[in-house]
């Protein structure tokens, strides 16, 4: 007969902890309409994940920027939100998103509630830059009445949750070149070239 004292029994119970199935939280929250849903569409610089919550666009990430963890893990890490694949993407939504990404449509319903008021001001200015044009970080800072906040403008644009749809790539340094971009300077230059913008 095995010797099984109380301490060993308690240790066995305390070790009997499991991680819940990895997709359980998504299923629970989706059922309660508390999960974001993602779809994948083709954009100007490759396959693109777009997250939506109750019909509004909340986040966007290039497929190859999602990393090995994938888009759902990225959403959890960055926004603390659970995101699941949209089981039946609405063809109208897919067409609207494709139009927005490839032809510059800007009337989609974007949810910027994850942003600070300052970020929202900056992104609203970026959204107003017409396709084919650029503005400098200083232009944006002045347009929101914070002329010295050039660096903060750059930070706010860098945290844009919906790049491409809010065209932060149309904001460039005053000193020339395309400057930084969440998806890389090469992609920023390509996007501006596709849009016909002239960058010094």
């Amino acid at each position: 007969m095995n010797e099984f004292n109380e301490r060993a029994t308690v240790a066995l119970l305390e070790a009997a902890t499991d991680a819940a199935p990895s997709d359980l939280a998504g299923r629970i929250l989706d059922r309660l309409d508390l999960a974001h849903r993602w779809i994948r569409v083709e954009g100007p610089v490759g396959a693109t994940f777009v997250a939506r919550f109750r019909g509004r666009i909340t986040a966007l990430l290039l497929s190859d920027a999602a990393g090995t963890d994938g888009f759902e893990e990225w959403m959890l890490r960055r926004f603390g939100t659970v995101c699941v694949a949209d089981p039946e993407p609405d063809p109208v939504v897919v067409r609207e998103l494709t139009d927005a990404l490839t032809r510059g449509r800007t009337d989609l319903d974007v949810d910027l509630s994850s942003c600070t008021p300052f970020q929202r001001e900056v992104l609203a200015q970026a959204l107003s830059i017409p396709r084919g044009e650029v503005r400098t970080y200083g232009d944006i800072a002045r347009s929101i009445g914070r002329p010295k906040a050039t660096r903060a403008v750059g930070t706010a644009l860098g945290r844009n949750p919906v790049p491409l749809l809010v065209p932060c790539h149309r904001v460039v340094p005053a000193g020339g070149g395309v400057g930084n971009y969440a998806f890389g300077a090469d992609r920023k230059a390509k996007l501006l070239r596709l849009e016909g913008a002239v960058v010094a």
Binding site: E3, F4, L13, D18, A19, L24, I28
Partner: protein, 199 residues
């Protein structure tokens, strides 16, 4: 020893002010503990998934209808377990009307990337033996032992969950551990005779 997630009071306050936002946090921070406990109390993973999903669905429905002051005063973890035990009992009642019980034959899931070191410490065989031994205990003792030593609730919290005096809960935990020791000590790991659960 398992411990309760930190910030229970803060979470209740957040649930009171931003139910949907805080509920995501509730699910993410409570699902593993709830899963571990429920998994020890039901016969298989599919049933455990049903229970955990239903617990959170019921919890959200309730919170959505409660006044803010009631949510702020909520002891979240104990309350979730009150719902869970009710759900398990309801399921057991329904199952008892079916022609036969489900054999305890399911193997634990493979470790995932989210698996902690504790899980690796317990072999599949240990887990099967533990679940089989737990299934031999009277329900009150099984609930008390799992809530105390798998979930990590204190005797007072458990007393509130099961609506029994603290002294009775302590006695149930003690008797449950004694029963487990006896079964585990007698159990021969080389004998994989399938057993049937009580619930």
């Amino acid at each position: 020893m398992a411990t309760n997630p930190a910030g229970t009071r803060d979470l209740a306050l957040r649930l009171a002010t931003d139910l949907d936002g805080a509920f995501v946090e509730l699910v993410l921070t409570r699902q593993d503990r709830l899963w571990s406990g429920v998994r020890r109390l039901v016969s298989d993973s599919a049933r455990a998934e049903d229970v955990v999903q239903e617990v959170f669905a019921r919890a959200h429905r309730a919170l959505a209808s409660w006044p803010r002051s009631r949510i702020e005063a909520l002891k979240v973890d104990g309350w979730l377990w009150t719902i869970a035990l009710n759900e398990i009992r309801n399921g057991a009642r329904n199952a008892s009307r079916r022609p036969r019980e489900v054999p305890l034959d399911e193997r634990p899931r493979p470790a995932t990337s989210a698996t902690g070191p504790e899980e690796h410490a317990l072999t599949t065989l240990d887990r099967e033996r533990l679940d089989t031994a737990l299934a031999t205990l009277p329900i009150a003792q099984r609930d008390a032992v799992v809530l105390r030593h798998v979930v990590g609730l204190g005797p007072t919290e458990i007393a509130a969950v099961v609506d029994r005096p603290v002294g009775t809960v302590k006695s149930d935990v003690h008797r449950g551990l004694t029963g487990l020791r006896r079964v585990l000590g007698e159990d021969d790991p080389a004998d994989p005779e399938p057993r049937r659960i009580q619930r």
